[in-house]
Every structure is written in C-alpha cells, then in structure tokens.
Subunit: 143 residues, 2 copies
C-alpha cells in the first residue's frame, strides 16, 4: 500500500508526535533507533519533511527534530503526499488516467468507495489525535 519510505516517515512523525515538543527536540539517532529504521535514510526523509514544513527542526547544539503545535494539526495524508506523492492514493488501481465513476476500470466498483473512506479517515485525524490514541495505549507504534 505504501512505500517503505512513507512507512518510515509515518512512524518517525508519530514518534515525534508522542515524544517531542518545542522544548524537547530529538536527535536523529534517538528517533531512528526506537522505531528501527536505518538512520541515514531516515535523516534524508526527515529533511524532506522539514523542508515541506510537515515537521520542525533546528540545527546545531541542542537542536533536533520536533513537532510544533501547528505541525500537530497535520494528518497522515499530508505525510504520504510529501513522500510518495499525491498520486499514490488518488490514482486508479489499474492506472487509468483518472479514477472516475463515469468511466470506471474493472476494479473500480470493488474498491473505490472503501478507498475513499480510508482517505477520509487519513485526513480527519490529526497527528495530535493519533498521538493521544497511542499514549492511551489503544494503539502501538511497531518496532
């Protein structure tokens, strides 16, 4: 469903949502290790997310990555769009130019409406919501 890159990015951002704050920035090593993602690769991904202002960062001593309060309003789809591109989730299952109920491919009616619901879910929950869910123990962040 997602590329590894996006999975890595989501895990890292959720980790930041739970553990970081403006006052408590986290260094790349301390993100990569607990979520079990190759450090140098994750660095690249987080740099991209930072450039696209999905997450925040400061260089130098006492620097690191973190989520600002603004960042916490974002949702999962924002992350996917930055790393995998918007097409990943929007495009037709069989790569028709556009996925459209007027001109549906053979798989359209088997998946479209569910896919829309998933998309809506991805958009409707903020990172903050997901962090709270995690903190309350109702979900876990895989290794």
């Amino acid at each position: 469903m997602f590329s590894n890159s996006t999975k890595y990015a989501i895990k890292a951002v959720l980790y930041l949502a739970v553990h970081s704050s403006e006052q408590h920035k986290i260094v790349i090593n301390d993100i990569a290790e607990p979520i079990n993602v190759p450090k140098a690769y994750l660095a690249k991904l987080l740099q991209e997310l930072s450039r696209q202002s999905i997450i925040s960062s400061t260089k130098g001593l006492k620097g690191g990555f973190y989520l600002s309060n603004k960042d916490r309003e974002r949702n999962i789809k924002d992350i996917i769009d930055v790393i995998d591109g918007e097409d990943r989730l929007n495009s037709c299952l069989l790569s028709l130019k556009d996925c459209d109920s007027k001109n549906p491919c053979s798989l359209h009616h088997l998946a479209y409406s569910q896919k829309q619901i998933i998309l809506d879910n991805f958009k409707s929950k903020s990172l903050n919501d997901l962090a709270m869910h995690l903190k309350s123990g109702k979900s876990v962040l895989p290794l």
Copy 2:
C-alpha cells in the same frame, strides 16, 4: 497500491477473460498491444501466471495464451498473490509483523475494516464475473 507488474498482469488476464477461449488462443503480441504493456515484459509475467496455473497456454503453431473454464473461476486476489506475493495485501500498513486488532498500529482503525471489504470483493468476483461486467460496458479496460 499495486506494483506495475500486478497491474499489467491484471489487465492482461482480464483481456484474456474477455477475448480468449480454448478455441481462440491469443499470441503475446496481440495481448500486449491493445492493453499497452511492454511486450517482452508481459511475456515474462504471463509465463509466470501460466506456471502458477492462473492462465493457460500452448506453445507452437496455433498456440497462445487463453483462459480455460477452470481459469475463469479465479479471482483478482489470485493474480495479485502470484505476482506481488500475499503480503502485499495482507500486511499491516506500518509493517507490524502481523496486522491484528489485538495489537493494532496507529493506522489500523483508520483502514482495517475497509481493507477487509476490498479484499473480500477481490475474492468474491470471478474473472468471469468481471469479464461479463466489461462486456456489458459497465466498466472499461484502461489503455
């Protein structure tokens, strides 16, 4: 969602479902061209599908690829499993070892039940069903 390989494979099998029969086998060129897939690559994919007895083929003069009546009972998930592997559809969105409501990742409750419905849909319609749908003009096979 799917790899290109799987998309190619699905398109080709659906093409065969609509246009081929035991009496009317179709040569790789005449499949690859209408569905707009690189011929040599498609050949490889169809050979794999044939090995896994998802589709049928005969060599030599008057040979080609086709779907037997048995083949037509298959479904989309069978194709995906052969080309992309079963994990593609079954695995957790964040690559937890196993996707399980007892130990859900942060995205589980946003997507799991819809994903199951899609999966069920992929399993419940036979290639024959999809071919009929196509023939009746209710769906199209993208370029």
